[in-house]
């Protein structure tokens, strides 16, 4: 057993840390620290900086312009990015579609799309979920009918994150309604500017706009935008799901959040003393810190295993369940520490230059509510338990 990083890994960590210190603009890290929604302009700027360094596509092999990093290197990079308050990259093009195109894409698709993902020319969103197909994704109904050299797509996607900013959407569509649900699904790339596509915003619990409904009415999609074979889309979806599973433990963000909670608990007062001296609140912090310390190792153990076996296994569902719960708990503690000062609607208390609470805390309640989503999307925590029940317990 050797828990620390190797000499090379430590050198790599140093390199990443130095690069971030030198390159990450303070207006970006400040925006991340404040915790509000990040604009598309900020994300474009950050992606461009990473791309210039060759560090945008951390899950891609070198031949496609990726870093070719091992899971451990990727982990170090993500940890350092969190530490520096760098934004989390928009995953749809780089982390989701990229690996799919490497494995299933045609040469033309790879040549056209991969460079445009890297240089930011095309922003992607993910069109999987539908009103009637959430956890039961395979029941999706959006229909694609082959007519000559194109497909005609009709139906609706929903919960499409950042669809309002996306240029293209990768979709799961039904190409054969007659067969078993999983066997009639295909994976299509669709240009959002195609006539017949309408994007409508969905406002979330805290008032933010990050998800959308996307409606398709007789949308003509060139047949060459089919990825892989017709009716084999489910295989691709499952492959993507394993790739989605990198960094699902959220350890870096939770470490950052834990430090924030401790700092807040030193600032806020209860009964004339710093909140951190209240044994009840301190116990809440300690409970989650214990979980997080364990999670760091659980995460590394599973990374190690993935590195040995070449792919993450079903046990990574543990990371999703526990990782989201830890992060959500920390968001609860931040809000709780602020007490009634967490309650104002962000941006409301600005009259008379009145700083409402400690710096960078106005979004704390909003973040708590917004992050309830993390145990719902990407396979809800109930679905993760079902996976573990089947695969690990074989029940």
């Amino acid at each position: 057993m050797e828990l620390s990083y190797s000499a090379e890994e430590k050198a790599f960590q140093r390199e990443v840390r130095d690069w971030l210190a030198y390159t990450l603009p303070s207006h970006i890290s400040d925006a991340v620290r404040r915790g509000g929604e990040l604009t598309k302009a900020i994300m474009e700027e950050w992606h461009a900086l990473l791309h210039a360094k060759g560090w945008l596509a951390t899950t891609w092999p070198v031949e496609f312009g990726g870093t070719g990093w091992t899971p451990v290197e990727r982990h170090i990079f993500e940890e350092e990015c969190c530490r520096a308050y760098a934004p989390r990259i928009v995953p749809f093009g780089t982390n989701m579609l990229g690996p799919v195109l490497h494995k299933f894409g045609s040469k033309e698709q790879q040549d056209y799309h991969l460079p445009r993902i890297l240089n930011g020319e095309i922003w992607w969103c993910q069109g999987y979920s539908e009103p009637g197909a959430g956890s039961d994704l395979a029941s999706l109904k959006t229909r694609a009918v082959r007519e000559g050299d194109h497909y005609v797509v009709n139906g609706q996607k929903t919960w499409t994150t950042l669809g309002q900013h996306a240029d293209w959407i990768f979709c799961l569509v039904r190409t054969d309604p007659e067969v078993k649900a999983q066997e009639g699904i295909s994976f299509l790339l669709i240009d959002m500017k195609t006539p017949g596509i309408e994007v409508r915003p969905i406002k979330l619990i805290e008032g933010g706009h990050e998800v959308n409904e996307v409606f398709f009415t007789d949308v003509k999609v060139p047949a060459e935008n089919l990825v892989g074979q017709e009716n084999k889309g489910w295989t691709i979806a499952k492959y993507l799901l394993t790739h989605e599973r990198t960094n699902i433990a959220n350890v870096g963000f939770s470490m950052q959040a834990l430090e924030e909670v401790k700092a807040l608990a030193r600032t806020m007062k209860r009964r004339g003393r710093p909140l951190i001296e209240d044994p009840l609140f301190a116990a809440r912090i300690a409970e989650v810190e214990i979980q997080l310390e364990a999670m760091k190792i659980t995460n590394l153990r599973m990374l190690f295993q993935a590195q040995q076996q070449g792919a993450p296994g079903p046990e990574t569902s543990i990371l999703k369940i526990k990782g989201t719960v830890i992060f959500q708990e920390l968001k609860d503690l931040a809000r709780r520490a602020l007490g009634p000062m967490a309650a104002p609607f962000p941006g409301h208390v600005t009259e008379g230059n009145l700083m409402f609470g400690p710096p960078d805390t106005e979004h704390n309640a909003a973040r708590y509510f917004n992050n309830r989503k993390t145990s719902i999307y990407g396979g809800s925590n109930e679905i993760q338990r079902n996976i573990l029940t089947k695969t690990m317990l074989e029940l």
Partner: protein
């Protein structure tokens, strides 16, 4: 033993519930609760005409209720509708005015809106560490310091401010038009204000008023806990409805035992909360009021978190959308914990009691 409501209270409950259901549908509520002035002035008028505020004060003070049960009946109904009207301030102000033997016609009729200012940035929950202090005496009293998160303060005309005088908590009247009031909307709907006092003129209402203030806070706690029971009940009903309707994997999701048991756990916590609300309401004017109020506020803080989080989780994505009222119930349930002492604060009070014994 009889746990049923008296006829009078049942009538009060029925008329309030009907009024709120008719006029304060979720869609209307969500519209008015997030736009200045963060409540509906017309419906405030109708609500007060119905006598909702008179129910909060005893007959001797011009009302027709004022017991813990009157308070819990009114606030459970308000909770079921997520009503953002500034009734809590009226209730607590009425307790303070009543204790001072002061006139409260304008308050009970709804003509004048009151808010009670206790919390401060460094003393959100604890009377013992407030810092706003009175200077001068007689006609020439002024207050300085900052009061925070005063619910209903964005529309209050009169603030009853808790401040130290001769080292003891006292209650002062401050007119909104003589102070700097920064009003704002809240994450869970409704409004509040910061009150910035800088040698602001104030009139003494109650000197050496620790016990009276505690009793007003206790009334407020019974109100909030009852509101929480109303809110949690609706969130639970919506969740069970959803479990019955939503289909995934070819069945309604209510068929999944993993969800069934959790919906039952929510119900259990809500029933436990309801029981302690009844107990705290019954004890409100007795010697152990503070102990039972601490218990019920701690309990609804815990139960509320469970109910809000589970209700959202079992709804899936729809549970985190603005359009669907559940999100607003969940926010209100959650942030109610930070009014008049959160779970940890009240557990601390109970623990102090063990030490003293």
């Amino acid at each position: 033993m009889d746990f049923s409501l008296t006829d009078d209270r049942r009538m009060l409950q029925d008329s309030l519930t009907r009024f709120l259901a008719d006029k304060y549908g979720a869609e209307h509520r969500v519209k008015v609760a997030y736009e200045a002035p963060f409540h509906d002035p017309a419906l405030w008028g109708e609500l007060t005409e119905l006598g909702a505020l008179y129910a909060l004060a005893p007959e001797a003070q011009g009302g027709f209720g004022g017991t813990g049960f009157d308070i819990s009946v009114v606030f459970e109904a308000l909770g079921r509708a997520m009503c953002p009207e500034p009734v809590l301030g009226a209730l607590m102000a009425s307790r303070l005015l009543g204790a001072a033997g002061a006139e409260q016609d304008a308050l009970l009729s709804g003509a004048t809106k009151y808010a009670v200012a206790i919390a401060e940035p460094d003393a959100p929950y604890d009377l013992g560490s407030i810092g706003v202090t009175a200077k001068g005496d007689g006609e020439a009293i002024t207050l300085s310091g900052r009061k925070t998160a005063i619910y209903g303060g964005q529309v209050a005309e009169i603030f009853l401010v808790v401040a130290l005088m001769n080292g003891k908590p006292a209650v002062f009247e401050v007119r909104a038009d003589q102070a700097q009031v920064v009003g704002y909307g809240l994450m869970d709907g409704g409004g509040a204000a910061e009150l910035l006092l800088d040698d602001t003129p104030a009139a003494l209402l109650l000197a050496d008023a620790g016990a009276v203030i505690e009793s007003a806070v206790n009334a407020g706690i019974v109100a909030l806990a009852a509101e929480a029971v109303g809110l949690m009940s609706v969130a639970h009903e919506m969740t069970v409805d959803y479990l019955r309707q939503r289909k995934q994997f070819g069945v309604t999701i209510g068929k999944f035992q993993a969800l069934q048991h959790r919906a039952v756990d929510m119900l259990t916590e809500i029933e436990q909360s309801r029981s302690l609300v009844i107990k705290a309401a019954a004890e409100l004017d007795g010697p152990e009021a503070s102990r039972f109020c601490a218990m019920v506020k701690a309990l609804v803080g815990r139960a509320g978190r469970l109910v809000a989080e589970e209700a959202i989780q079992m709804h899936g994505g729809i549970g985190v959308t603005w359009e669907y009222p559940l999100a607003h119930y969940a926010k209100r349930i959650t942030l109610l914990d930070a009014q008049l002492g959160d779970t940890d604060h009240h557990l601390g009070t109970l623990i102090d009691g063990y030490k003293a014994a």
